[in-house]
Amino acid sequence: MKFKIWAVCCLAILGMISSGMAQENADTANRATTASISPPAPPGNLEPKDTPDDNGHSITLGWSLSPDDGAGNKSVLGYKIFRSTNRDTGFVERGVSPSGSKEYVDMGGAIPEENDYMPNDTDYYYKLRAVTSDSTVYSETGVIGPTQTTGEWFNRGRTLVLVFVLIFAMVTVFFIRKARSGAELFVRRLAGIEAVDEAIGRATEMGKPILYVLGLGTASDIATIASFSILGRVAKKIAEYQTGLIVPCYDAIVMTVAQETVRTAFLDAGRPDAYNEDMVYYVTSNQFGYVAAVNGTMLRQMPATNIYMGTFFAESLLLAETGALAGSVQIAGTDQVAQIPFFVVACDYTLIGEELYAASAYLSREPILLGSLKAQDYGKAAVIALSIIGIIAAQFNWTWLVELFKSAN
């Protein structure tokens, strides 16, 4: 037994000695390698330029690789960027770019209180250092500059967006004017919206309220704004039919706007006395807390109809499934693509994507609003045409269309 313990200890000591020797050998080899490094050739053509299409406070540097970067003696590990506001002194390291890279964006802060503040309209000088595995062995370019940063008045990367928005706005205004002049505009049938009237009637007959859920979006989300519009139309009909309305809100601002929407709709319907401020109430800004509260409301008050319009996330199925279990007629609409399948499965009617935005116009049947729907249809036709042109262009390896869309940022 003693012999075994001795043998193990001896082996362990031998192992430690041999690993120590190996480490020593490796260190010796490293020193030899380090000692053999010669300074690399410096990178060339260092060119600092104001970064385009931004608010300034940033300079983009371009250069050509050192001959020893990936070639020659392959000693370059990367490039260090130095900046100063003085040609001769005060150079500060701004960052490191890996070997093989030819560009670096030196981005400073825009707020004077920040440590990294980089004021516009100031002269900046740069130099670039090709570094090796030995921090004492390197090569540098000369000092280049001065270069100034400037805030731009137009982001050229968004030209295409501007052109498209302008064209689309003109088409929309054209159809609105056409509708105003009395032209008949055909708008395809939206089953989900047509069901709203029927659902309100059903609720009235059953003497049960209608639950309207605005989703988890904020008042500045376009889907929530569209939902406010639909709520306004629905509330007006509810006021006319004298049906109950429940609007639990996730966001306090949304609640305030929704209260005003419903109140004005009741006033507009000639039933201001029927409006009760507690129809629209705040619940919580906690996602699953909100779900628990709304599901509880569904199961206790058993609304005849549940309308979900707005931005929804993981709670969509929790809400819609509970509504289905409660036996309510359910109409949903969201701009969240990932949630649409859940609504399609659990609801009786679902407005898909842009149908949510069309709902208010469809409910009102106002020609002016319907005019905007026609513009949307023409917009979609334009996108389809562009897609087909893109497919054809890709077959012939014409990249101009792809490049055109790539230029947008």
Binding site: N55, G56, A110, E152, F154, N155, R158, V161, L162, F168, T172, V173, I176, I222, F228, L231, G232, C249, D251, A252, I253, M255, T256, E260, V262, R263, T264, F266, L267, D268, D278, Y281, V283, N286, F288, G289, A292, G296, R300, A314, L317, L318, A320, V337, F342, V344, V345, G353, E354, Y357, A358, S360, A361, L369, S372, A375, Q376, G379, K380, V383
Partner: protein, 206 residues
Amino acid sequence: MLVFTLALVMIIQYFVPNDLSLDTNEFLLKWIIIIGVFAMALGIWSLIRVSYEKIKRRVPGWQYPIATLLGLAAMIIFGFDYGRHFSTAEGLNNPMFLKFFLYIIIPIQSTMFALLAFYIASAAYRAFRARSALATLLLLAALIVMLRFNPYLGIFGQYLERTTSWLLNVPNLAAKRAIIIGIGLGSVATALKVMLGIERAYMGKD
């Protein structure tokens, strides 16, 4: 007029990248936060009033609003750290606040989220019933996507993997993109309608 002017400012801001433009954007976003704080006070007041009414009228489930009000009061009291740190976030480190948050709110949230699995199962059961040709197609696609995770399918699993990849990247992605493009156009059209004052139903007007 106010809506139109502010909307125009925000549109211009999107295309102008300089400091003035960014500062304007930041200023307006700060206003949203300020309005949000005041709206939160209205929200809490609304919650208290609605809960109180339910308790007073003994509506079905009137006990729940009591729990709501107690929870609200407890979190406010502990959050303010007994009034010693009114203007800082120090109250968030209050041991009782943390206990309420970590041992009550988080487990309840997790429970609610976990329920989603069962809801998906029941919704899937309804959705995948082969009632029509399209529903059968949906069922087949779902089976392929689900079966690809089966480790006992051997070489057959590779075919399922490829088919799944095609289903997700071709027909599914094409449909998603079509919806996204529609949403983009609808957003612009809605923004224009609100900006031009054509759509005023969000203010309850026709």
